[in-house]
């Protein structure tokens, strides 16, 4: 009998999911016992825990790491490279793990983990408000221009009603959504130079600027934005599918909530960043590793997805799960709100993680500059130039 110590972040979100998966897993694998260690409140806290415990006896055997922090774990050699396991397994694609999905958790030739819960940015909107300004909620806007036009009408409704909430705070994920959506990239392929200061980046920046200037987007903190939206005071919200379950609960019957794919600046080249986390193996003990691999695959596999998706709003990271009615087929029929994320799946590419020791700091630099645009303290051009310069400085100079 093997006992696996499993650690995961954000229990408010994942506790039920994890409990369900582990129960089922232990039913199927009676020789493996899963023991959850005390979870961490956020991805950051979780990462710190792992880094602190790396190499010590307290280190858990399996953990779940935010996709944008995966690189940190991989570069430091803390995570176990899963390539050999994938190779041994041979038929990953048959089990629903397409190359595209495996790629989400690869760095420098390593398979750092298996994407467990993945998300992409979608558009939420308040159909009631759209109706009030004469827009047809059944034909949601497909381009940013349309969004901004409707938004500019919504903002005139008064009574505290506001037009857009674009979740730019916290990290660079939503900026990536604009940038990737325009077909841009963060860095050049050799990872030596900033690439987001090109026309795509400028378009993204300008779009943000327009959301404020023309669309009347207010400056809100992340939670304030969510709260205002679920209170029915905001027309459009752009953020992760992961929040869907919560938004549905919080909205209740108050208004007609809808979702739809997020517009792309470039419908052809446009891609979207993948949020969420990956299951990561930490144990170096071969006996445990076998069990851990089983668990990781199980969690990231179709059953896991079928638990994660309805409980959260994440999109399935397993192609079997999405298609098979055994798992989620019916669910999507019954819950059309969840479809927006699903539709966008083909456009998902990895959330870019910056190289080097300043990797995390870079994202903060970008967010700081975004806030200047949102607060209308600087023009998109200035901001982009500043951001590029500052980020360039933070890149490894090798």
């Amino acid at each position: 009998e093997t006992t696996l110590n499993v650690h995961y972040p954000m229990p408010g979100f994942f506790k039920d999911v994890m409990d369900k998966i582990s129960k089922k897993f232990m039913e199927e694998n009676s020789d493996i016992k899963i023991n959850f260690v005390s979870p961490s409140p956020t991805y950051e806290d979780g990462l710190q825990l792992i880094l602190r415990q790396a190499g010590t006896a307290e280190m858990p055997d399996v953990t779940f790491v935010g996709l944008n922090r995966l690189r940190v774990v991989a570069e430091r050699g803390i995570s176990v490279d899963l390539k050999p396991f994938v190779a041994k397994d041979g038929n990953m694609a048959e089990q629903g793990f397409s190359d595209n999905i495996l790629k989400l958790a690869q760095f420098g030739g390593q398979q750092a983990g298996l994407a467990f819960a993945t998300s992409n940015p979608i558009m939420y909107y308040n159909a009631d408000l759209l109706r009030r300004v004469g827009a047809n909620p059944d034909v949601p806007p497909k381009t940013w221009d349309e969004v901004i036009t409707i938004a500019s009408k919504i903002k005139t409704l008064g009574d505290g009603v506001q037009s857009i909430d674009f979740r730019w705070q916290g990290d660079d994920w939503m900026f990536s959504a604009l940038l990737f959506g325009a077909g841009g990239a963060m860095l050049t392929p050799d990872e030596k130079k900033v690439a987001f200061d090109g026309p795509e980046g400028l378009a993204a920046m300008r779009l943000l600027d327009r959301m404020v200037k023309e669309g009347g987007m207010p400056v809100l903190t992340k939670s304030n934005g969510e709260q205002a939206f679920v209170a029915g005071k905001i027309g459009f919200t752009f953020q992760t599918t992961g929040a869907l379950r919560n938004v549905i609960t919080n909205v209740g019957e108050k208004f007609d909530l809808r979702t739809t794919p997020i517009p792309l600046l470039s419908p052809e080249k446009g891609r979207l960043p993948t949020g969420g986390n990956a299951a990561v193996m930490l144990t170096k003990d071969p006996a445990k590793q076998a069990a851990a691999w089983k668990l990781i695959k199980f969690a990231a596999g179709p059953y896991g997805a079928s638990v994660v998706v309805p409980g959260t709003g994440y999109v399935p990271n397993n192609e079997l799960a999405a298609k098979s009615s055994e798992y989620l087929g019916d669910f999507y029929q019954k819950n059309p709100l969840f479809k927006a994320g699903l539709e966008q799946m083909p456009k998902m590419i990895p959330w870019y993680a910056f190289p080097g020791s300043n990797g995390v700091k870079v994202t903060q630099t970008i967010v700081d500059n975004l806030s200047r645009v949102v607060e209308q303290k600087a023009t998109p051009e200035e901001t982009l130039a500043d951001a590029a310069r500052e980020v360039q400085r933070l890149l490894p100079r090798k």
């Binding site: 650690h7 954000m10 005390s38 806290d45 992760t240 379950r245 919080n250």
Partner: protein, 278 residues
């Protein structure tokens, strides 16, 4: 200081106090109201405090079932008690020595105390963690209490209060044959109750509510103190479960409030050193 009938000054005083009290209470009103609401009612455009649909039972039962709340509360009580007792045992004599005994280096020691007060736990967390991990005592009550056993704040607080105590009182005690430790126990402590009470309140509050350190040394829920329970209702990425979070907060705060109500009697019987002239 006598009881006087109603007059304008008193009315004014009550008005000011009441307005202040309202401001201070406001967040709690919302907190309680939220703890009784179903999720869809929490954020809405109207400012209703009373829910249409009561969800108090649901929220509070979540607070108790989603996490082993009673176990957490128990842990909190144990850890806070250990910390408080040791802190007082250490801080009282230290402060007394600094306040009333003349010895070389007292000033330097006070400076060191100030330094100790300033160091944020975030800065020293890592070295202490490494030490505790090396000693193999992670996930114990000891690990939870260890960095706080010596309270610089306590020493500093007591120091201030002791200095105000008349020297002759201590001199009398010396002549009566008390040892210095005896003086602390028999003369200083009984006359420093308000300070000790104040300190106890602060210590318990701080460590009961500490979220940072337990996260570092505790990985087993069985050892976790109450605030760690609250993270089960938070999901930064996707929005918190406010109703349950507030219910849990009420549950976690209640014991402290009761403790404060008990402790504050100590203030009512405030002491005045009237055995002395001048």
């Amino acid at each position: 200081m006598t009881t006087r009938a109603w007059n304008t000054a008193r009315a004014l005083r009550l008005v000011i106090l009441s307005i202040g009290a309202l401001v201070f209470l406001a967040p709690y009103v919302w907190m309680l109201s939220t703890a009784t609401k179903p999720r869809e009612e929490i954020f809405s455009s109207s400012l209703a405090l009373i829910p249409h649909q009561w969800a108090a039972v649901e929220n509070f039962s979540k607070a108790f079932t989603r996490v082993p709340m009673l176990q957490l509360l128990m842990n909190g009580v144990i850890v806070c008690t250990i910390i408080l007792v040791v802190q007082i045992l250490v801080a009282l004599p230290c402060a007394y020595a600094l306040a009333k005994l003349r010895f070389p280096g007292a000033r330097a020691l006070i400076a060191a105390i100030m330094l100790g007060l300033l160091v944020p736990i975030h800065a020293t967390a890592l070295p202490i963690y490494v030490a505790l991990s090396g000693a193999g005592v992670l996930n114990t009550y000891f690990a939870l209490a260890a960095p706080f056993l010596i309270s610089v704040f306590g020493v500093f607080l007591f120091l201030q209060f002791f200095r105000a105590m008349p020297d002759d009182l201590i001199n009398a005690a010396r002549l009566d044959g008390m040892s210095e430790l005896g003086i602390v126990l028999r003369v200083i402590v009984p006359n420093a109750w308000p300070a000790i009470t104040a300190f106890s309140i602060f210590s318990v509050v701080a460590h009961w509510n500490d979220l940072f350190w337990p996260q570092i040394v505790v990985t087993e829920t069985a050892m976790a103190p109450p605030p760690l329970g609250l993270i089960f209702f938070r999901a930064a990425e996707a929005g918190d479960d406010y109703g349950a979070l507030m219910a849990a907060t009420v549950v976690v705060t209640m014991p402290l409030l009761v403790a404060f109500l008990l402790a504050q009697r100590r203030f009512i019987e405030g002491i005045t050193l009237t055995g002395l002239k001048g």
